[in-house]
């Protein structure tokens, strides 16, 4: 129910910079995920939004109210931890009622709300049980009911599913999304699991080493990565270092020719590049097509290579192809994946799409 705004939020621990100049605007009701590897600062940022950590500098706003230095009880938030953290000495009902009872509400008035919350997470008959009697998934659902009971302005999730097994994770993440949609609450979710982020978020903030790499929807990030980190962290990618040799501008796009490690590649870029710019060229494995001798005319980018390995994965086959001394990964599905298991040796590869990301001169491949 609240907009969340972070303005130049920074956190230093002595000499270490955990979070650097974090700027983000989260509209009311959006489900946004902070995605990144361990140690990238996503949990630190989340805890600053919650008030469990104080930023070194910067400002945090909920709607128009500045909450930067407010302690957590004053912020009216809901925080779901990695472990359910249900109070072991209280029953499920008392756990759910906790947020309301500390504000002084009477048990009789709370009862209705408790029942409502239990129904919301499909645990209606579990009120009298103790947390120790519940499974991990059930505990996490009670934790969800507990934070929703106080009708918070913002929901914060710190990798709530990483302690659960895979099947549970898959079902529970949609339950979380479902609850968020039903209650119309702004949600900020932290995870390192890319598929989890992609499944439930409206937008994703990709973080690395305390900084934001890119903010966008799933398609933005996957199809149009803006930094080398995003291109490599999200999905799999093949990368080459190169230099722009020619730029032809048309109305919507520019056709760019790149010389990269002995190969000439063509890309229809959206970003403005000049001749002589250093770039990284990225080709996703699923965008590499195995061509037979007759095909290839419709592809701008055709290269020749030798198959090193074929890894049959079932629905797809992963190929490792040696092209001009570089190992490329190509993912092949359809009937081709079956014929390739037998055949090794020379292939012609066509690239469906080449993504270019400009880099400063001193980047290493």
């Amino acid at each position: 129910m609240s907009r969340v705004n972070l303005s130049s939020v920074t956190k230093h621990y002595g000499q270490t910079v955990a979070v650097h100049e974090f700027n983000l605007d989260v509209p009311d009701g959006e489900f946004i995920t902070l995605l990144g590897p361990s140690g990238c600062g996503k949990t630190t940022t989340l805890r600053m939004i919650a008030g469990l950590i104080e930023p070194t500098s910067g400002h945090i706003y909920f709607d128009e109210q500045e909450v930067t230095y407010l302690p957590p009880p004053a912020r009216n938030i809901g925080f779901v931890f990695q472990t359910p953290a249900l109070f072991p000495h209280l029953s499920v009902s008392d756990n759910i009622a906790f947020g309301l009872s500390v504000k002084g509400q009477k048990k009789e008035m709370i009862q209705g709300r408790i029942d409502q919350m239990l129904a919301l997470v499909n645990l209606s008959d579990y009120g009298k049980r103790m947390p120790a009697q519940l499974s991990g998934g059930q505990q996490q659902r009670v934790a969800l009911a507990r934070v929703l009971a106080t009708d918070p302005r913002v929901l914060l999730f710190d990798e709530p599913l990483s302690a659960l097994d895979k099947n549970l994770r898959d079902t529970l993440k949609y339950s979380i999304l479902d609850l968020q949609r039903k209650t119309h609450k702004t949600a900020i979710y932290v995870t390192h699991d890319q598929s989890e982020a992609f499944a439930i978020s409206d937008r994703i903030v990709v973080m690395n080493a305390g900084r934001i790499e890119q903010i966008g929807t799933q398609t933005d990030i996957y199809l149009h990565p803006q930094t080398p980190f995003v291109a490599e962290f999200i999905g799999a990618n093949n990368s080459l270092v190169g230099k722009v040799t020619q730029v032809k501008d048309t109305n919507e796009t520019s056709r760019v020719a790149v010389m990269a490690e002995g190969l000439t590649l063509y890309s229809n870029g959206r970003i403005s590049l000049k001749e002589g710019d250093s770039v990284l060229a990225y080709i996703r494995p699923e965008n590499i097509i195995i061509l037979n001798d007759l095909e290839g005319r419709e592809y701008e980018n055709v290269v020749e290579g030798v198959i090193d390995r074929v890894i049959f994965e079932g629905a797809t086959a992963q190929l490792r192809v040696d092209v001009a001394g570089r190992e490329f990964r190509a993912d092949v599905s359809g009937s081709q994946r079956l014929t390739l298991i037998q055949r090794h040796g020379k292939v012609r590869l066509g690239f469906n799409e080449v993504t270019l990301i400009p880099v400063s001169k001193d980047v290493s491949p």
Partner: protein
């Protein structure tokens, strides 16, 4: 079927026998005392000796309980915040501070006694009062109250407190509704250990007790010194032993042994 005396079974029997032997060793003095407390004139058995417990010994027992209660209360008031500060707040010199706080355990009772007499009488010119005694007992038992609380707090994941705060509880509310109940067993361990020590303490009491206050162990000590070992004295001693014994039994029944680790008593 033959009962084969293998070396392993022999080992089992010997270890069990050894344990029972040790038990007997510890219990025998008490049993002797128990037997003696029942003896009447000309070798008959009498329970009249125990009437003294409710008669002239009653005040002594009451004083012991009073001093214990006051000491435990004071211990709690200091140890609860101290334990929380030591575990939850970062500050330099924690280890040294904690070691210093456990020093009273390693100072002989007589040394503490003399030091206290000097402090109370000569430095502060205080007349001996019940509070002097209580303070002395508090200092002596403080490490035993602090350590189980610290252990219990260390075992308590901080996520509980953070969850409570995010749900809207102030620090104070978090402490009383979440932390305090969850370290209850740790607190009880501290109470138990301190109670046993204070209830049975006589050496420091000897130095600093006010004239009108004679605790039970002190009474026993005085009686033995003046009148020798009477059956009635034995009866008082047996009663004291039983009170301590039941306190320990009750604690283990309710809480088990978990919260006494780190106190070097278990």
């Amino acid at each position: 079927m033959k009962n084969v005396l293998t070396s392993r079974r022999l080992g089992d029997i010997l270890s069990h026998a050894y344990i029972w032997f040790c038990l007997l060793l510890f219990v025998t003095p008490f049993l002797a005392l128990l037997g003696y407390s029942f003896s009447g004139p000309q070798g008959s058995y009498a329970i009249q000796n125990f009437q003294y417990v409710f008669g002239s010994f009653r005040n002594n027992l009451l004083w012991s309980f009073k001093i214990s209660a006051l000491t435990l209360l004071l211990d709690l008031i200091i140890a609860l915040p101290a334990g929380y500060a030591l575990v939850r707040y970062p500050f330099p010199g924690k280890r040294i501070l904690f070691s210093a706080l456990t020093l009273p355990l390693y100072v002989p009772g007589a040394v503490i006694g003399i030091a206290l007499v000097l402090t109370y009488n000569f430095t502060y010119h205080m007349i001996t009062s019940i509070w002097g005694l209580v303070f002395a007992m508090t200092v002596g038992t403080f490490p035993l109250m602090l350590t189980p609380i610290v252990v219990a707090l260390k075992d308590l994941p901080i996520a509980f407190e953070e969850a409570a705060q995010c749900l809207g509880a102030t620090k104070w509310q978090t402490y009383w509704r979440v932390v305090f109940p969850l370290i209850g067993p740790g607190i009880s361990a501290g109470l138990l250990l301190s109670f046993i020590i204070v209830f049975n303490e006589y050496l420091v009491t000897l130095f600093v007790h006010p004239p009108g206050v004679t605790t039970a162990p002190l009474r026993v000590f005085n009686l033995v010194r003046t009148a020798g070992l009477l059956p009635t004295t034995a009866a008082l001693a047996v009663t004291m032993q039983l009170i301590s014994f039941f306190a320990v039994l009750a604690f283990f029944r309710i809480f088990g042994t978990r919260y006494l680790k780190g106190t070097y008593l278990i």
